[in-house]
């Protein structure tokens, strides 16, 4: 398995005196797959994603991207390699879907440059791939939560990166939209792109991912395939509730155990 990200002994805290968020974290993220980072709320998943992005620097430890130290990449190189879909993108300005997705072309433009014809064509293709061409002229504040996630993905498609980091892409979405997003991510990894997503929902992870990482208290407790990682013992330990894992068509299926009546 060739590693995309390799993290070794990562330690991070947001401010001196504040509690440690990531502690001695070591992890290999495979290239060309969908990796799901699973764990309860507040366990450092988003922080880990931001360290992979490079927006946060670890206090200790080493991080490499495709075998090269993370800090060896320039800002421009990183922005052409890694795209981010945050859980929420808050903006008080009511951009249209098209205007928002067009921002994906920024890494290829200087601060004084305007998007050209080619950038516009790329955005049109990105909207088409995400299946939201019909929403192009709609203001982003007037579309549904699932559609907003697709708009963010279209923006990253227009960014043309080979690595995609997503923070809780299926949180707050109904089952139809969850399936839509996860299938799109799978399609992207089939094309050779690497996808890393965080989630606190094991079933969403099983549905969409090939590689699984379990996190608790700022460090990794297990990683590997679904059958290796998604076990009743592992999940009950990290989520601190009784959890049953059943088999469905050869894949694990996670059920909260109600216990004895």
């Amino acid at each position: 398995m060739s590693s995309l990200f390799s993290l070794e002994g990562i330690e991070f805290r947001y401010d001196t005196g504040e509690p440690i968020v990531l502690e001695g974290l070591s992890l290999q993220i495979p290239a060309g797959k969908v990796t799901a980072i699973l764990g309860p709320n507040g366990t450092g998943k988003t922080t880990l994603l931001h360290i992979m992005l490079g927006v946060l620097k670890p206090d200790r430890g080493k991080i490499t991207l495709s075998g090269k130290p993370h800090q060896a990449y320039s800002r421009q190189e990183l922005s052409r390699l890694i795209g981010l879909v945050p859980q929420f993108e808050s903006t008080p300005f009511n951009f249209t879907v098209y205007e928002y997705a067009l921002l994906g072309g920024s890494p290829y433009l200087s601060p004084f440059q305007m998007p050209g014809k080619e950038d516009l064509e790329i955005v049109e293709r990105a909207l088409e791939t995400a299946g939201i061409s019909h929403l192009a002229k709609k203001p982003v504040m007037e579309i549904s939560g699932g559609e907003r996630q697709l708009v963010q993905i279209a923006r990253v498609l227009a960014q043309r990166t080979s690595i995609l980091l997503l923070d809780e892409p299926t949180a707050h979405l109904d089952l139809e939209n969850q399936s839509r997003i996860l299938k799109l991510l799978k399609k992207m990894s089939d094309r050779g792109e690497s996808v890393v997503m965080t989630t606190h929902d094991p079933n969403a992870a099983i549905f969409g991912a090939d590689y699984f990482v379990l996190m608790k208290g700022g460090s990794i407790t297990a990683c590997g395939s679904a059958n290796e990682v998604i076990t009743s013992q592992n999940l009950s330990r990290i989520y601190r509730v009784p959890i049953r894992v059943e088999k469905n068509k050869g894949y694990p299926m996670v059920v909260m155990d109600k216990g004895e009546a």
Binding site: L78, F88, S90, T91, E99, P111, R148, L165
Partner: protein, 324 residues
Amino acid sequence: MLFLALAVLGVFLASIFVGRYPKPYWMPFRVFQEDPLARQLVLKLRLPRLITALLLGMVLSAAGAVLQMVFRNPLVEPGFLGVSQGAAFGAAISILWFTRHPLVIELSATFFGLLALAGSYFLSTRIRYGGWVLRLILSGVAVSALFSAGVGFLKYIADPLTELPELTFWLLGGLYSVTWRDLLFVLPFGLAGLAVIYAMRWRINLLSLDDETAFSLGASLSRERLVLLVFAVSATAALTAISGIIGWIGLIVPHIARRLLGASSEKSIPAAILIGGIFSMIADSLARTLLPGEIPLGILTSAIGAILFIYLMVSIGIKVRNHV
């Protein structure tokens, strides 16, 4: 956009003939051709004043739009973040204690304007409660109040017969004393600010996103924000140094521009620049024409701006935060 550009030209040409000479409200073209005094009046007084009004409106609107997008807060304008009060304080210090040379006044105004902006920004990062919008507004109010107190103190110690009336009228805002020389001193600051903001008009969209997203898209956030803020604030402060405090243009015009041409700064910033120019040329023409005596421009822009703001709030509801 073409319509707005033509409107700027139309209002500019019309404003040349609006005034109280030879009689109230309108000077026929024939008078301009035949009366040497009228020509002198237009060329030496009205024209520099009109160009300054145009520049002032353009700069305040552009700076307001930039501040709103960079701070991701549609309720921000230079006055809300203490920039205007800081600049007024800087200019007043220079007038009272140092020199009335326009360049020194502008530099002093720019320095204190930037100091006020930095003060508001850092104070907002130290407040431990409330969202970003609330914290920024609170710190802006506090920093503005500090500089207002400073200006109040300067008024208190100013000579009541010579310095105080001049200072008070200047603080109310107005372009009544603008000459070609004043305009020449502010022109480089104003044009430099407008040029940088216009050149970065698409990029500014990126700076209005969450920090992590903007970073992932290759923005050097601190550097790009700093460049924009320095140019926007120094242009605002330089203009404030000759106009006094002109409120509301920087808040209301970007809203009107977004309503007309959409949220993307690629279009809304050029539109705000043009609308700002029209707004302040009209307000200044009213200020010098409506009454036999000059009405301070700041009073007019505040009155018109506040009424428009109320209308926009009630009719469309200005959204403070939303998620993509």
